[in-house]
Amino acid sequence: MGVKQIHRPPQNAWERLYVFEIARGLGITLKHALLSWFKPGHMPTYEYPEVKRPLAERFRGRHRIRKREDGSPLCVACYCCQTVCPPQCIDITAEESDDPAVMKRPREFKINLLRCIFCGMCVEACPRDAIYMSHDYELADRTREQLQLGLDDLLENQDNDEGEG
């Protein structure tokens, strides 16, 4: 087993007295304390619930499904996302579509958010760009049932964020 030797920089006599170096350190911390007191706006922190961090454009939050002009889901129930999903949290039930131009549509589209790892592979797999991941990341809830998303949950609040586009 190799022993790692750490070479500390040598200290001169002044530094070895400690007292003055400690005083210097106290000066540094006091400077920061005073900066925080007089310029609170310069703190590198966010007052979270009120102020939120700007998110990256490609941030992966909870899923949404895009709608057609008439409000029906863009999804064609091809099962690509369900197949590719690593934790297998997507569960689709297909049915025949009324629209003669579209073959299938989802009757149920369930996502178990407790299972989801937010990897975004469903978005990659989607041939119609129907599913996308929004910027909605405040996902805590009181019961497990409330974190099982259905088709209605996935279709709502479309206007709030554009998502990956």
Binding site: I22, G25, A33, S36, T45
Partner: protein, 423 residues
């Protein structure tokens, strides 16, 4: 002019001992509310983050929330613990810290109807030795707490603490011998009187080495960073109080703050002139503190107004409630303080009502002491967020190879200087 019974109350030594008790309890137990807030927000500001700023103006009510949280937690006694000692240990730490404050004088002598009083709970003629004797008992609380928990980490923490406190007790005691030589008394009030006048009469100027050793040792005694090996969160979970929860943990926690408060007061008494303002007699005449009292009231009023203005600003009211209430109360306090100060000056209290004037002078001294104390309490917090923790061998090396010889050398040098008549 005043009724007999009022005079009886004023000239009873119990009145002033009770007032001293109130001051002592405000500084230690009630003060914990402020100290925890100061510690948490001080730490936050040094680390460039806001800290707890939601409960009450400036987050000051956070300590109450902390206390409620502690009180409502489950009180766990681990299996295999010595139940009796487990319960007693936190009490020992707290009791010891609180006992020391009994001999601390909060003001100088003041005269009432021809009798002399002092704001001190117990006027012992061996006050100083009492402090040394009692403070060495503090190690029992920590050692028993760790041992009775039936937990290896707790035991390790308390063993370290035992070794540490005994090692630093020696340099603490020896550093004070130097002070003893200079002041030539073991009574704390006489020590403060010896520091009257010019600033170079202060202990810190007369015995700077003793001051440094005392300060360092008192940090080690209070188990504060950089000597918090007892707790050492990163190594020992929480050291001796790992197995403590609920109010018993709270008692340890409070004991630590009381210990810090007592250390800070002692530092002020021994080295920073206690309740004295340097050159007070030269600047403000023969009874400086009596003269200063109304100006102190005006100063307090000004400070209250500044805080009231600050707390009512929209920026301060974003997250908190009660700011305007606090501002209103502060304005009321400021108004009454200024009015009292004005009355004091207009009524010529100093010559007309000498007994009231001497009580006011005493209050001024208490406030001067508290202001100096506040600085040293802040120093505890400031140092905690500046220095890293010592390693165990470094701690022992510092204690035995540096502090102890320095303390001995300090005694020798001080003794020679005292003999030569320099000090």
């Amino acid at each position: 002019m005043i009724p007999e019974w009022v005079q009886d109350i004023l000239t009873s030594k119990w009145t002033w001992a009770a007032l001293a008790l109130v001051v002592a309890y405000v500084l230690t137990l009630v003060g914990i509310v402020v100290y925890t807030w100061l510690e948490r927000r001080g730490a936050a500001f040094i680390q460039r983050r806001p800290g707890p700023n939601r409960r009450g103006p400036y987050g000051i009510v956070q300590a109450v929330a902390d206390a409620v949280k502690l009180a409502t937690k489950e009180d766990v006694v681990p299996a295999g613990a010595n139940k009796w000692l487990h319960a007693v240990a936190p009490m020992i730490g707290m009791t010891v810290a609180l006992t020391i404050i009994a001999v601390i004088p909060f003001s100088g002598d003041f005269e009432l109807f021809g009798q002399t009083f002092r704001l001190q709970i117990a006027d012992m003629n061996f006050g100083f030795i009492f402090i040394l004797a009692i403070s060495s008992l503090a190690v029992y609380g920590v050692a028993l707490g760790g041992w009775s928990s039936n937990n290896k980490y707790s035991l390790l923490g308390s063993l370290r603490s035992g070794a540490q406190m005994i090692s630093y007790e020696i340099s603490l005691g020896l550093s004070l011998v130097g002070v003893l030589l200079i002041y030539n008394t073991v009574k704390l009030d006489e020590m403060v009187i010896a520091q009257t006048g010019a600033i170079w009469h202060w202990g810190v100027v007369q015995a700077p080495m003793a001051f440094l050793i005392f300060l360092t040792s008192s940090y080690a005694e209070a188990n504060r960073v950089p000597f918090d090996l007892v707790e050492a969160d990163s190594e020992l979970v929480a050291g001796f109080h790992t197995e403590y929860s609920s109010l018993r943990f709270g008692l340890f926690y409070m004991g630590e703050y009381v210990h810090m408060a007592v250390s800070a007061i002692l530092t002020v008494i021994l080295f920073f002139g206690g309740w004295h303002i340097p050159w007070a007699e030269e600047i403000f005449g023969s009874a400086p503190y009596v003269t200063l009292f109304p100006w102190l009231l005006f100063g307090a009023a000004l400070v209250c107004l500044v805080i009231a203005w600050d707390t009512s600003r929209p920026r301060r009211r974003v997250h908190t409630r009660g700011n305007l209430l606090l501002a209103f109360l502060l304005v009321c306090v400021a108004g009454s303080a200024a009015a009292l100060g004005g009355l004091y000056l207009a009524g010529d209290v100093q010559t007309e009502i000498p007994w009231l004037a001497s009580i006011c002078g005493m209050l001024t001294q208490v406030i001067v002491l508290v202001l100096k104390f506040a600085f040293f309490f802040w120093l505890f917090i400031w140092v905690r967020w500046t220095l890293p923790r010592f390693r165990y061998d470094q701690l022992m090396k510092l204690g035995w190879k540096v502090m102890l010889p320095l303390a001995l050398l300090n005694i020798g040098v001080t003794g020679v200087l005292v003999l030569l008549g320099v000090l």
